[in-house]
């Protein structure tokens, strides 16, 4: 109840600030979407020249692509801590957060939340629906529920990995440049992992499990037996990584001493 009212207040503030500059807001939403759609463009152009990518058809690829966008949108909406080090550690804003009663991570999430990125999720859902319509796969009554479970698992994986990376700021004063690196790696996850070599496949499955934010969970609905077993692991991997992220974060917060200025 307490957190609901905080959420509402933050959300109102968000709307007020964004609606002050409506044109900027619109441009940002559109360009963000276009950034993501460049990869869609890649898939469409490539399939003008071939009809299978490592055994996957264009609609299967589009389905994975659409799925990939859904948890990504939810993640950027709530758990995007991209500029944490600069804003909260270097400028000392973390002091302000820690003096307040609500849990520090909740405050950070609410301060940085960006519901506009849910447009990306919606677009992804439409692309996925379009691809599904063209695919000849069975539809079970439990599919919508499984989808929710998968998306939740994927969001937790994003959350866990990025909270873990972000909490490194508590242990090292200088920026590590690790976040943009991870961000680039996550894009591997939207293509079938079988096309990569063993090292990358292993990394994407167990170390930085970005195969679980795209190809594995999506293949559950595509009746592809090669990765269906992995698909069901998505929520488990999500919970494990999110827990690790939170634990390391809390250790980090305890070590935090302030920037001193």
């Amino acid at each position: 109840m307490y957190y609901t009212s905080i959420f509402t207040d933050y959300f109102k503030t968000y709307l007020k600030t964004r609606m002050t500059y409506r044109a900027d807001f619109l441009i940002e939403v559109v360009t963000d979407l276009l950034f993501q759609l460049t990869n869609l463009f890649f898939i469409l152009v490539v399939f003008l020249h071939t009809n299978s990518l490592g055994g996957w058809s264009i609609y299967e690829m589009l389905f994975i692509y659409g799925y990939f966008m859904i948890p990504y949108g939810v993640f950027t909406c709530f758990l995007n801590l991209w500029s944490f080090n600069e804003r909260y550690i270097v400028k000392g804003e973390m002091d302000r957060i820690l003096t307040r009663p609500a849990h520090n991570l909740v405050q950070l999430v609410l301060e940085n939340m960006d519901p506009a990125s849910l447009f990306g999720s919606l677009t992804g859902f439409i692309i996925m629906g379009y691809a599904w319509f063209h695919l000849d796969v069975s539809f079970a009554w439990y599919d919508p529920f499984v989808l929710q479970l998968m998306v939740m698992g994927s969001v937790l994986i994003y959350g866990g990995v990025y909270i873990l990376i972000t909490s490194l700021s508590f242990f090292s004063d200088s920026p590590t440049g690790i976040t943009p690196m991870i961000w680039n790696i996550q894009n591997y996850g939207r293509y079938p992992v079988d096309i990569y070599n063993k090292v990358i496949k292993f990394t994407l499955t167990w170390l930085l499990p970005f195969a679980f934010v795209g190809v594995y969970p999506a293949s559950f609905f595509l009746d592809k037996d090669i990765s269906q077993g992995f698909a069901l692991l998505t929520p488990v991997v999500g919970i494990v990584f999110f827990s690790i992220g939170i634990i390391v974060w809390n250790i980090g917060v305890n070590r935090y001493k302030g920037a001193g200025s």
Partner: protein, 267 residues
């Protein structure tokens, strides 16, 4: 002329040293490029599958194209548009205008310092590593390397010119963030970095041939992968030179107009 020239050399040198000071960005940058090259390498391998050629490219040409395009990008890429827009927004451009050198050339020199840094400490070692790990084919003739070097210098010029134009737009509108983002997407997509232009459908190819973006990645990378040989190399180079000269005109005109209407808020 001569003292001016040494001033330019210093601008390049200072930016070069500045880049050296921020080494963290350098290390993570190398890894990011390696990741991108690796991802596209395997992706294209899978796309080719059993096919020998696609979109006028052989597999070997394609993997070479991917590697060399990203390495060239390390050299020509810069954030001049953002730097200029920020200086216009915070008013510091007014101070820059009082300096005894042309502001836009000063910015270009800074961009060149940044590019040279990445070329020497990043693209060259990166290319060696990529050659060892992946199957790619480097040109064996010395003159191909030479013309390629000249061509990526023009890639830098044209890309920077486009950045100058996008950045200067901040003189006329209060927020050119959207334009800068569109530009970035356009350069990555239409320059042939993500997909070579020969893969595009016919109508799109026709349009892109009349835009400056192909001169940034597609033309030099085509020369490097030996898809373009003989006299056609000079044609590709002339296209770059023409775009360089042509883009200078709007830059000059807009700069003249912008200086007249510059209003520094607060300063």
């Amino acid at each position: 002329m001569l003292p001016m020239f040494s001033a330019y050399i210093d601008m390049i040198r200072i930016r070069f040293l500045m880049m050296l000071a921020y080494r963290v960005n350098y290390y993570s940058g190398i890894i990011i490029y390696a990741i991108n090259i690796g991802a596209y390498y395997f992706l294209w391998k899978a796309i080719y599958g059993a096919n020998e050629t696609l979109g006028e490219f052989t597999v070997l040409q394609m993997t070479t194209y991917v590697a060399v395009s990203w390495m060239a990008r390390a050299f020509y890429f810069n954030n001049l548009d953002r730097e200029i827009a920020n200086e216009i927004k915070d008013g510091s451009v007014a101070v820059q205008l009082t300096k005894p050198y042309p502001y836009l050339i000063f910015k270009m020199m800074q961009g060149l310092g940044e590019g040279l840094f990445r070329l020497l400490l990043f693209s060259v070692p990166g290319m060696v590593i990529v050659t060892l790990i992946f199957q790619i084919e480097l040109p064996t003739q010395f003159d191909v390397w030479l013309i390629f070097m000249v061509m990526i210098f023009f890639s830098f010029l044209i890309n920077s010119q486009i950045n100058l134009l996008t950045g200067m737009f901040a003189f006329f509108v209060e927020n050119n963030e959207g334009l800068m983002r569109f530009k970035r997407i356009a350069v990555d997509l239409f320059s042939g970095l993500i997909i070579p232009i020969s893969f595009f459908p016919g109508w799109a190819k026709g349009v892109l041939e009349w835009l400056p973006f192909q001169a940034i990645t597609y033309l030099p990378a085509s020369v490097f992968t030996r898809r373009v040989v003989g006299d056609a190399i000079y044609n590709a180079f002339i296209v770059q030179v023409i775009w360089f000269l042509f883009l200078s005109i709007p830059i000059y005109v807009i700069w003249k107009m912008a200086r007249r209407r510059l209003v520094v808020q607060g300063g």
